[in-house]
Amino acid sequence: MTTALMAARHQTGAGRTTFVPLAAREMRRFVLNPVFLFAVVMTMWVAWSRAGAAVTEIDEVNGYPAVFLGGFGMMAAYCLTRSMRASEPVAGVTPTSRPARTAALCWVAIVPFCCGVLTLFGFLHSYPVGDAVYGPFSPSARLAVLVGQIVVPSLGGPLLGVALGRWVRFPGAAFVLFLVIFGWVELVTILTFSRPDSAPIAVLRLFSPFAFFTDQADSGAVMAWRGSPWFFIGWQLALCAIAVLVALLRGAEGPVRTRVIRALAITGAAAVILLMLAATGGFTHAVAA
């Protein structure tokens, strides 16, 4: 018994010692990925070039970090994940299991997440929480809007890219998904312009990894749409967890697979609840500041 426990403890220690260098290596590959570097440069350029421009409402500017750090980060993570596909017959027989390698890949999302946090601070410097561009939201809800639109997409995009790379073989999957999500967000936002008080359209608008929360009314005032920014962050984090679990599911065997499937079911249920809370919470109708 003691021998078995000692062996198990030794294996856990060995797993940790291989995981950290693996994660560090994947992180270095991700940071040097040209798509990600392009995304960082574009985020900085757009943020810098728009800093002095007149902005009437915050949603005019805060979609760009999500597009570049989240969308392009997804494509970079997808490339990174797929790049190991050719060497899978060799990598597959190493002592490190596929879920462990997937977990190491998921850790690279820390890099765009940190970039997102830095971008958030930049936005808070350019557009302080007390600014009128946020509309009638409370100070905490304003912060939640920014976190949900800048920081969490920067984390979720690369995680989605890893999950996609683990399951989909089609080389164009990342940019097709990027365009589909982009088109969906645009479509539901445009629908919200015409029916800002509709509950089903609010659900559709929030049924997305990114959502806008404000609009400029005809009178010039900033209008806040219905929905709770805090619960929306919860929904986004649930999507991130689902992406990680779906990625880990590939190649998982035995009890690990069972645990991942169970966690996936629980997270899925939590995501549905959080989406409903996001759609029904906050303002119950569009409010102008």
């Binding site: 570049f68 080389p171 164009g172 940019f175 015409s194």
Partner: protein
């Protein structure tokens, strides 16, 4: 020759991406307010679909067959009918829904998008057997640039939507069509094993004299 060449094409990718484009474009036709955003996305997807028409997993074998690259490219170009038909279907649906678009300019933009994807694939095909992924991603990023970066939208318009400033979509697409025709002609002619690849495959011995 034509049938086997066409049969070997990456049809699942071409048809799959074209189908996604039809869905996105269909949403644009169904919701006229979103048409000017969704139709460019649809056209970008069709350009990506066109980029997959030259994918050849067995390129190492196919590239040394007597059928020349120009002929292979011409045969594979038939597959462009799929994204073009998909785009035409979307434009027809938009017309039936009563969208007020400049149809000639929209048709030109569709042809330009598809040809741009194909030209990018032709250029990348000289380096790799499966250019679809790289060429498609590059084309999508270029085509979506006006929608993603506000500064680019001020210089150039890739869709004939009402707006001010920048080059008009017609000017852009006529220029792109001309450049693409030249790029395709050059790529299709020069797609043989280049000299550096032959030298790389059989390195000459030091001091050896060619008979």
């Amino acid at each position: 020759m034509i049938r086997p060449m066409l049969r070997a094409g990456a049809w699942p990718a071409v048809v799959g991406v074209s189908s996604v484009a039809v869905v996105v474009g269909g949403c644009g036709a169904a919701f006229p307010a979103a048409a000017t955003v969704l139709l460019p996305v649809c056209f970008a997807l069709l350009a990506a679909a066109a980029a997959f028409t030259l994918d050849e997993p067995a390129s190492l074998v196919v590239d040394v067959t007597p059928t020349g690259p120009a002929r292979r490219t011409a045969i594979r170009a038939v597959a462009l009918l799929a994204p073009l038909a998909a785009g035409a279907l979307v434009l027809l649906a938009a017309a039936l829904r009563g969208l007020a678009l400049p149809w000639a300019a929209a048709g030109l933009a569709l042809a330009g998008n598809v040809l741009l994807g194909f030209a990018a694939a032709c250029v990348v095909r000289t380096r790799t057997g499966e250019p679809g992924g790289v060429a498609g991603a590059a084309v999508v990023l270029v085509l979506m640039a006006p929608g993603l970066v506000p500064q680019v939208a001020r210089w150039v318009r890739t869709f004939p939507a009402p707006g001010t400033g920048g080059l008009s979509s017609d000017t852009v697409w006529w220029t792109v069509l001309a450049v693409c025709a030249v790029a395709i002609a050059i790529s299709a002619r020069g797609r043989r094993l280049s000299r550096w690849r032959v030298r790389g495959a059989i390195p000459p011995l030091p001091g050896a004299v060619r008979p």
